[in-house]
């Protein structure tokens, strides 16, 4: 090594890295503790939930909390499966459509020439800062004007435009050499062929990243159920868990809350673990220039 100190992105462990581990490891453990607490509490029997002094760990793990959660649904008249199915359907449509829309728009913004292109990109970059809860009321007015209150559309349509998603996709498509696309034009390919056969296969990492962002915001979403849908049959799993959690008393409810947090959290975690390599690849191009 031509300079002292440690390297960025080292290949192997070296004792000079100990100081970094000493700093980051306690912090990482501290950050993951509440999540472990969710898992532990989800399996606690009732007497351990009430134990004093409160314990972090579980002695006799049980599935009671998950059973209670399912039982509470029985009482509400609708089976839990109904809410889960709603959530899966909504998440599926939001993912499919928002990926389609953002990759199409990303292709046009990056590789096509048209009037208003730079304006659209600038407004979109500005809209990354958009905070949806700040304009809840106008959004409600629009949705009721469109006549989609109390329909599945009210869950899906508001979530389709994700400015940060389009931004990441566009930056990623910028990496694809223009020559590749020009060559395809020379060979007689049209835009739809180029989009499907060249762009989409090459931007899989960006697609994976936008997919996980859209998944997190849709799967965890309770706002659309709370504001735009009154019909219980059309509400989402996340919303349904929220109502039960707020109804039950805090200590006994903690077990059920933990069980439902775990059910909500696990799909996020699993998808992230599978896609994390692709996400890091996209993030390398995420900069705002």
């Amino acid at each position: 090594m031509s300079y002292f100190g440690t390297k960025i992105n080292p290949k192997y462990y070296h004792k000079s890295q100990i100081k970094f581990y000493l700093f980051v490891l306690p912090l990482a453990i501290f950050m993951v503790l509440p999540i472990i607490y969710i898992f532990v509490t989800a399996f606690k029997p009732i007497d351990e939930l009430f134990a004093f002094p409160p314990r972090f760990y579980v002695v006799n793990p049980t599935l009671d909390n998950f059973r209670d959660l399912a039982d509470m649904t029985e009482g509400s008249g609708l089976p839990m499966g109904r809410y889960i199915l709603n959530s899966i359907l909504i998440t599926f449509f939001v993912l499919a459509l928002s990926l389609l829309f953002s990759t199409m728009a990303g292709f046009a913004l990056s590789k096509k020439k048209f009037k208003g292109k730079s304006l659209l990109f600038e407004i979109n970059t500005l809209a990354i800062m958009f905070v949806p809860i700040a304009v809840t009321i106008p959004r409600f007015l629009i949705i009721s004007e469109l006549g989609i209150i109390n329909t599945f559309m009210a869950h899906i349509l508001p979530l389709l435009a994700v400015p940060v998603g389009l931004f990441l996709v566009k930056q990623f498509i910028d990496q694809i050499p223009n020559e590749l696309i020009e060559a395809a034009y020379v060979d007689g390919a049209n835009d739809f062929y180029i989009y499907l056969k060249i762009i989409v296969p090459l931007i899989k990492p960006a697609v994976a990243t936008v997919a996980i962002l859209a998944f997190q915001s849709t799967w965890n979403n309770v706002e659309t159920s709370a504001l735009f849908v009154n019909n219980a049959e059309l509400k989402t799993f996340a919303f349904y868990l929220t109502t039960f959690v707020t109804q039950s008393n805090s200590i006994a409810g903690a077990g059920i809350a933990a069980a439902s947090s775990m059910i909500m959290f696990l799909p996020n975690l699993i998808i992230f673990i599978f896609l994390q390599g692709k996400i890091m690849n996209t993030m390398a191009h995420s900069g705002i220039k």
């Binding site: 950050m31 993951v32 829309f101 728009a105 009321i137 400015p163 868990l241 903690a254 947090s261 900069g287």
Partner: protein, 295 residues
Amino acid sequence: MLNRIKKINSAYLFILPYSTMFLVFIVLPVFIAFLLSFTYFNAVEAPKFNNVQNYIFILTQDKVFMQTVLPNTIKFSLIVGPGGYILSFLLAWILAQVPHKSRTVLALMIYSPSMTAGVAITVLWQVIFSGDENGLINGFLLNYNLIGEPIQWLQSPDHLMKVMIIVSLWSSMGVGFLAMLAGVLNINNEVYEAAYIDGLRNKFQEIFYITIPSMKPQMLFGAVMSIVGTFSAGAIGVQLSGANPTPQNAGQLIINHIEDYGILRSEMGLAAAFSVVLLLIIYGISKYVNRAFSE
């Protein structure tokens, strides 16, 4: 000629679905909020134009806003925004100094809190910070005689803000953190080698002269994400304390204030004016940050 029309048309065809959704659900709501902010609107009768009355009310008569909500928002945003941002850069930088396998595990541990969401998780925070002796933290502190009696973490105005800040910081290592990690990793090792030959002395110089300037775009992306995250996290106080307004307004942020006027009191025009104020604040900060990084 025909070919040219076809070319232009297809570009518009590609942006049409996205821009329609974008216009209807993002641009239009902001525009409507702007218009409504100049009206009196109670959601029953049609909005009545009342000039800049709402803004005058906000500036001169809304004592709660000026004395509590605005200072709260500033305090919360200053700690969670820049604090979380510096922390996520620092963590990203440190993670870049260790080998791939341990980095992946550590990054996952740090990123995972940002994937938790919703009210169910706040119920767990309520148990952890519960005001009676059954709370995890109170139980721990009482057990080791560190405190004499349980602390009202979520109901006392002295502590609610602290808990809000801790919980928000905890879940703030999201996409921005990953972008900055990728940014640090992307810098070529030769840049560092050359800089050390040119007389770079230590890690601090390395960070300020090489790392940050080389990853400005990611730094800016991270900054924007942390601004958004900070202002979206506003509902946490109401969720933790279980009341809007929060006890003695201790955890009241602009977002809660908008909800309080708009949904609980049906003062839609006033709520819209607050929305405009909030969006302007976010816009102003982002412009400032943008300038700081583009120099």
